[in-house]
């Protein structure tokens, strides 16, 4: 898909749908504490929204909006967030991935675990999101 899609209807539909898909992805990520959802599903939805822009805008225009190198950076950052969330409690008197020892002042253990889970979910979502976009770009074989 080097060139944009010929049909105006497809382009306009895609432009309208993409922000809602991204908003729903954020909802899925942050609602994982209370219902079905979480990092993997939300990250997949985020990645699919950017692949949709690749499909109807063409590789050139959508790579200017969201370059593949940025996707690689996102994938690495997500994994790094997960590792650091596990590693920081290790230097703070706890075990690896023991979120109760995260150095955030003014919170009790259960609340710290709550936010630890949230950091981990954000890391997973960023990792999955970057990896999916990266996979699509390389499998499509376009030069980026």
């Amino acid at each position: 898909m080097k060139r944009p899609h010929e049909s105006v209807i497809v382009q306009i539909t895609g432009i309208v749908m993409v922000p809602f898909i991204q908003l729903f992805a954020l909802y899925v990520i942050f609602h994982g504490h209370y219902g079905p959802g979480g990092g993997f599903q939300g990250g997949a939805l985020l990645g699919v929204s950017f692949i949709l822009t690749r499909l109807f805008l063409g590789q050139e225009a959508s790579s200017k909006r969201f370059p593949s190198k940025l996707a690689a950076v996102f994938a690495c950052t997500g994994l790094l967030i997960y590792f650091l969330t596990g590693l920081i409690p290790l230097f703070n008197g706890g075990n690896f991935l023991d979120y109760a020892h995260l150095p955030i002042p003014g919170m009790h253990a259960a609340e710290l675990r709550y936010y630890g889970i949230m950091f981990v979910e954000i890391g997973v979502a960023l990792g999955v999101f970057g990896t999916i976009v990266l996979l699509y770009d390389n499998l499509a074989g376009e030069n980026w």
Binding site: F40, A110, Y114, E121, L139, G141
Partner: protein, 91 residues
């Protein structure tokens, strides 16, 4: 050869059907899977993690190592794809 394959598959299917009759019922509270650590997770999730969704607290907190491994697997798959399929001169 073709009938041999069908016979092997059919006998394996029959064996699986026979073995499935020995499995505990779905949602059985006395099954081994729901008597080991599951009650601990269900009872202590709210005090430990403040998270009403037990699945999330098990996936990201109690079994955090496993989720870390899954993320690394996905990341490694993407990395291998980039290293094999990328065009020259980029990244």
């Amino acid at each position: 050869m073709r009938w041999l394959g069908i016979a092997v598959l059919g006998s394996f299917f029959a064996l699986m059907l026979f073995a499935s009759t020995g499995l505990p019922d779905r949602g059985d509270p006395d099954a081994p899977a729901s008597t080991h650590v599951s009650p601990f997770y269900i009872e202590n999730t709210m005090e430990d993690t403040d998270t009403p969704n037990v699945v999330t607290s098990v996936v990201a907190d109690y079994r955090g190592y496993d989720t870390l491994g899954e993320t690394v697997v996905i990341f490694t798959a993407g990395l291998a794809c980039v290293l094999i399929l990328r065009k020259k001169g980029v990244l």
